[in-house]
């Protein structure tokens, strides 16, 4: 023990090994976290599904009822009517949750409108709807 204490040259290899170990562990942790984040984002994007349950042309504008049929929470980021972006009430839906989003847009009777809903991850649902 006394010999080891006096042998200062032996400390350097021990320290270097410990340092290498710490660096290796840190490197692996970063890699695993990055893997988790990357695959997590991919999974969320792939797991996003939504449908338009109902479109209601009201006096105040157009209301769209959405249902999240996917496996991840989604947030409606954009609503387009005939390729024109609309202001709408924000909507966030958990899986199997549903709700209205409303647009204060004037419409004319007996007219076909092209509605498109875009989520924050880029998923889109779109279809033509005829006003009453």
């Amino acid at each position: 023990m006394l010999r080891l204490w006096h042998n200062k040259r032996a400390i350097t290899p021990v320290l270097s090994n410990v340092l290498l170990l710490v660096i290796a562990v840190a490197g692996m942790s970063i890699s695993i976290t990055a893997t988790y984040v990357i695959t997590g984002n991919l999974r969320e994007t792939m797991g996003e599904r939504l449908i338009i349950e109902d479109v209601w042309f009201t006096r105040d504008g157009i209301s769209v009822y959405l249902l999240n049929t996917g496996k991840t929470k989604l947030s409606v980021e954009g609503v387009y009517v005939d390729y024109m972006q609309q202001t709408f009430t924000s909507l966030q839906l958990e899986p199997l949750q549903n709700g209205w989003t409303n647009m204060t847009r004037t419409w004319t009777a007996d007219t076909v409108y092209y509605l498109k809903i875009v989520t924050s991850r880029g998923t889109q649902v779109a279809d033509h709807y005829k006003s009453p």
């Binding site: 695993i32 893997t35 695959t39 449908i51 349950e53 109902d54 249902l67 049929t69």
Partner: protein, 297 residues
């Protein structure tokens, strides 16, 4: 000898060893990423595939103004009078088999009551407009009137306050039908769990000790509902989450939690869904995101 030499050289060649470790760890990470993405992609593809295989249609939608009839599920309680023959089971359907009672010894009066249970899980109290009571009975003496009353949970007595008919029934010598409606006072007579206590009583003391044969005594809910006929022609069980009733002015959504097996046609009654007059569209939405549509008039 040769093996020992190569092991020694491997131990000395630390650069080579670290390269192998780096490659192996990188491979592990790569495999984890690819496996994760591929497995998830497989799951979502399966979800889309299942959605494509689902096929749910609405075959028919019709109005429903009354629930099914509910008979007593226990023997009648006799307050005044005597039991003669039969059982409460004989009073559940119209088939000529009856339960017979007789008026008490002087003063020759009669008073029995039975407990009935509305199925509030399928007929929520909020959807009921009124309650109807139906009785089929025969008596030995036609000289007095017979009355139907219900237990009023507010005043805690048997009463016919608010009934559409409080005059009672003057019987004939054959089978007699008597029906009363509790009108909009019905809520006082129905407990939260759907329990209704019905009383049959005679007019009062008289000279003849009469027997009474009860063939049928039931209650039913009056409502303004709808019956849907769903058909699942797909190869997967469909889980219906909502029903929509839309017309030009109103879009109404009703929550539901209904499973229809593959190949099955299912009749579904909802007393809380009233159908609009004129043309309307009924829609059902499944958990997988499919929509079945029916146009009614």
């Amino acid at each position: 000898m040769q093996t020992t030499t190569s092991r020694r050289s491997l131990r000395r060649d630390k650069k080579g060893l670290s390269s192998i470790i780096v490659v192996v760890l990188s491979l592990v990470i790569l495999v984890v990423i690819v496996a994760n993405v591929i497995l998830w992609s497989y799951q979502m593809n399966q979800l889309d595939w299942e959605r494509a295989q689902e096929s749910l249609t609405i075959d028919d939608v019709s109005r429903k103004t009354r629930s099914s009839w509910f008979a007593t599920y226990a023997e009648y309680q006799i307050s005044d009078g005597n039991f003669v023959s039969g059982s409460y089971v004989n009073t559940q359907i119209i088939d000529g088999n009856y339960e017979r009672f007789i008026e008490s010894y002087p003063p020759r009066t009669f008073d029995i009551n039975g407990t009935f249970l509305l199925d509030v899980s399928n007929h929520p109290l909020t959807s009921i407009k009124s309650i109807e009571i139906r009785l089929r009975f025969a008596v030995g003496d036609v000289g007095e009137r017979w009355y139907l009353r219900a237990f009023n949970w507010t005043s805690r007595t048997f009463s016919d306050r608010g009934f559409n008919s409080t005059a009672g029934c003057q019987p004939t010598a054959s089978w007699n039908y008597y029906a009363v409606n509790l009108t909009n006072e019905w809520r006082d007579y129905v407990w939260e769990d759907g329990r209704v206590l019905i009383q049959i009583a005679d007019q009062g003391p008289d000279s003849t000790r009469t027997n009474i044969d009860i063939d049928y005594l039931v209650i039913g809910a009056v409502a303004d509902g709808a019956v849907f006929s769903f058909r699942n022609s797909g190869s997967r069980t469909a889980h219906i989450l909502s029903i929509w009733i839309n017309n030009a002015t109103v879009h109404r959504r009703f929550e539901t939690d209904l499973f229809v097996n593959s190949g099955e046609t299912f009749s579904y009654t909802r007393l809380d869904i009233s159908l609009p007059t004129g043309q309307y569209i009924a829609k059902v939405v499944t958990e997988r995101g499919n929509i079945g549509v029916y146009t009614g008039d």
